[in-house]
């Protein structure tokens, strides 16, 4: 993966597979350069047994093969910067993944195209789950919520090409001032 936004796209597929009704993504950059990426869902959750081995590349819920690289690759990229990745999960309640990275480390991946990631997630999953995005840095913050968009669209599906274009454009306008120049 070339940047964090691709990792985020990949990790959020886990929440979708877990049948989440809502998935929230927070990307928070502090003064000291520490970046937190928090993905929280209300999906099926994981048993303690699965949770204990989920950061191993040899853990997967798939039956077609024996490797699953999404979480271990992100964990590795966090640790390279001196950060870490942790997961809390309760079966039937949901899962919370917290990744921390030190953006001052030379090994820290750039954030990448976060608007593209969110647009892709919404377009590929127009009916459910709901996606909630929160970005914050010392320069400002923004919120995005598909429930508001769904309400405004009143019945028009979220995967219409014009709506995807609008979403990408408006997310870009709002996210760039927050992270622009620092880690984008």
């Amino acid at each position: 993966m070339r940047d964090l936004s691709l990792h985020i796209l990949d990790l959020m597929q886990n929440s979708i597979r877990a049948q989440a009704k809502a998935v929230s993504l927070s990307v928070l950059l502090k003064d000291d350069g520490m970046l937190s990426v928090i993905i929280e869902d209300d999906g099926c959750g994981m048993s303690e047994e699965l949770l204990s081995r989920v950061t191993s590349p040899f853990a997967t819920t798939r039956t077609t093969r024996k490797v699953g690289l999404g979480i271990p690759m992100m964990a590795e990229n966090c640790r390279l910067t001196g950060g870490d990745l942790s997961i809390e999960s309760t079966p039937g309640v949901g899962t919370k993944l917290t990744a921390t990275l030190d953006t001052s480390s030379i090994d820290c991946l750039p954030l990448g195209d976060l608007p593209g990631t969110v647009t892709t997630l919404v377009t590929m999953n127009p009916d459910k789950p709901e996606f909630i995005l929160h970005c914050r840095s010392p320069k400002g913050e923004m919120h995005f919520d598909t429930r508001e968009i769904r309400e405004a669209l009143a019945g028009v599906p979220l995967n219409e090409p014009e709506i995807a274009a609008w979403m990408q454009e408006s997310l870009r306008e709002e996210i760039e001032p927050i992270f622009g120049g620092v880690i984008l």
Binding site: Q13, D113, T123, M124, E160
Partner: protein, 124 residues
Amino acid sequence: MKSLAELQAIREKTLNRINLRKEDEAEATRVVIGMATCGIAAGARPVMLAFMDEISKRGLNHVTVSQTGCIGMCRLEPMVDVILPGQEKVTYVHMTPEKVGRVVAEHIVNGRPVEEYTIGAAEK
């Protein structure tokens, strides 16, 4: 979040078209993109966004874009299936945003698959 008013305007514009489309669901062309870890790492996201962009520009109402998981040929990702109504599925491999324009123009619009980008050509 801003410009929800803009969204209302898009809604008005698309509403008629959506009602028209409902009547001929069987005529839909499907574009399916592999979006597992392997697909994403190989560049599936820009490919997907390029398809949405091209479909929007050309106003192709009958095309739906969706995702699938890993089908076990990670070395050929990004992979894209194009399914025209009543025709056999065509699988494109090693896709890039640059290739998307040709696939849309030649295959989706004109019905002629771009042979050189297909899995058949790659596996020779």
